[in-house]
């Protein structure tokens, strides 16, 4: 039934077809094909600190990159798996960081305790702050998350709380830069694969359902607000973990933890890297964070750059880099028909 025009069709590559079903993996080549990208990612990330050993500045950048990656994963999870757009990721960094500072400096908890404790405290605080708007339209979530970091900065400054503009200093740092690097790298990998595992479980399906058709979910007897609360808790835990870690890296918790960068880079990373799969978030950060370092002397122009790139990706409905690459990896296009 050709109509005389050529059309492009996408066909799965042979190796993908052969390796798709679990029973079909027989050759080493197929196994490598399947697990290759994943191994590449894991190995690549883990080797990074060793490769950059002679450059302590860039080793620092790895830490920052991981924190951004955590935020980006949290954003991707909330936006593309549950349907909540978080415009204020810096809220988690700030809360996590300040809690860590209080636990470490005032309550004298060690680094290894203050970080998880701060993550937990921050998650509880964030969830409570966001909870009231979860039963309302999705737009409220965006509005509220946008507003909180902006307000926190002003409140802290106005009341000179928690060190005011100077922040809280004197946090313990990590015993060594290897621990500094690898603790966050391993955390990132754990979060990444752990969350993906969660999303493959039934609860992940329920969360996607909440995003796509929450009325149907309600009609099935599930409390949508509870699901959203759980999602917010998970995401804020991840974000606050990053924030607590960062405070210890800087040995200081201050207003800059609520910086706009922490809100916008995750969004840009997910849009550019591809949403919904969590890997895209990491890839996006791998691109944007080193870029951000190069653009440092451009001042706030870099934010203009991210936002423009971000908008361009959205407007042109680009699927993102990761899905694009994945598609190329798994399928090939050819002209057919005519």
């Amino acid at each position: 039934m050709s109509d005389g025009r050529a059309r492009k069709e996408r066909i799965d590559r042979g190796i993908k077809v052969r390796s798709d079903g679990l029973y079909a993996v027989s050759s080493l080549r197929e196994m490598l094909y399947l697990s290759g990208p994943r191994i590449l990612l894991i190995a690549g990330l883990l080797l990074l600190p060793l490769l950059l050993d002679p450059h302590p500045y860039w080793r620092r950048v790895i830490n920052i990159l991981c924190v951004y990656a955590l935020l980006a994963i949290a954003f991707d999870f909330l936006a593309n798996c549950v349907g909540l757009v978080c415009l204020g990721g810096s809220m988690f960094i700030g809360l996590g960081g300040y809690f860590a500072a209080v636990f470490n400096v005032h309550l004298h908890l060690s680094v290894y305790l203050s970080i998880p404790a701060a993550a937990l405290a921050g998650a509880v605080a964030s969830t409570l702050l966001i909870l009231p708007c979860l039963s309302l339209r999705g737009v409220y979530f965006a509005i509220v998350t946008l507003m909180y970091p902006l307000l926190f900065t002003r409140v802290i400054e106005a009341f000179d709380l928690l060190g005011g503009s100077n922040g809280i200093t004197g946090l313990d740092s990590f015993p060594g830069s290897n621990i500094e690097n690898y603790s966050i790298l391993l955390t990132l990998l754990a979060v990444l694969f752990g969350l993906r595992r969660l999303l493959n479980e039934d609860i992940g399906l329920v969360m996607h359902a909440v995003k796509d058709n929450d009325q149907s979910v309600r009609a099935s007897g599930i409390d949508v607000v509870r699901i959203k609360t759980l999602a917010v808790f998970i995401a804020s835990f991840i974000g606050c973990l990053g924030g607590a870690y960062l405070a210890h890296v800087y040995m200081w918790a201050g207003l800059s933890l609520f910086a706009l960068d922490f809100s916008i880079i995750p969004i840009a990373a997910v849009t550019i890297g591809g949403g919904g799969i969590l890997f895209g978030a990491v890839v996006g950060c791998l691109i944007l964070v080193p870029l951000s370092e190069f653009l440092r002397f451009f001042g706030t122009f870099r934010i203009v750059l991210y936002c423009t790139a971000l908008t361009a990706f959205i407007v042109f409905k680009s699927e993102g880099l990761m899905p694009y690459c994945a598609r190329k990896y798994q399928q090939f296009e050819r002209w057919a028909g005519a």
Partner: protein, 256 residues
Amino acid sequence: MGGRVSILTVEGLGKTFGGLKALSGVGFSVKKGEILGVIGPNGSGKTTLINCITGFVRPDEGKVLFKGGDITRWRPHRIARVGVARTFQVMRPFYSLPAYKNLIIPLWSPRARKEGGWRGGGKHGDRDTVAIDILEEIGFERDSRVPYKLASTLPTGYLKRLELARCLALRPEIIFCDEVFSGLSASEVASMLPLIEKLKMGGITLVMIEHRLRELFRVADRVMALQFGEKIAEGHYKDVIEDPRVKEAYLGIEEK
């Protein structure tokens, strides 16, 4: 059919949207195990009625009693949990998932876990098996691997059944069907009728909102007619369609 107990009672239900009275003083009872048809021209408030009863819209006045308990103004998921299920006229299944995966969500809910006989947190396998069983009950031929097909490849008839399956997964006591026959060909509807009968024989009460009167009358025990948000007739279908008010509502004919 007398002597059956009432499972759901609605009293004086009213709802106004902006300036429009969508429902006004609607009251009726549904007997356990019966099939009640709800008919009426477009805009008569049929869907609003379901929405008010199942909690998706808050009624301004009136009461809804289910098995004696007041469920008025309860949140939708709570109402679903006590056994009141509903279908949606505009279905949005997970097109990118196989049919049986679509049932994971209702099977995950607390009620399904309780009633289904297996505990939540049970292995994937259990839930998947239950899903396939339900689909088989509803007419998805297991041998042809229909339950495993992606929802996007299923024709409307199957999607309508999938919607009913979603309700069945909750092991409900009563299902509100919002125009399940719409969009189907005559033969597709004909093939759904035995399914409806089967549900009834399984002890489920059905309230069916329909436009396809002929098919509805083949299965409904009683019929209720609405117009402009008010109940105008109720009873055996033969009596209802002879009712002058109903005639006027549907055909605009004044009986002199």
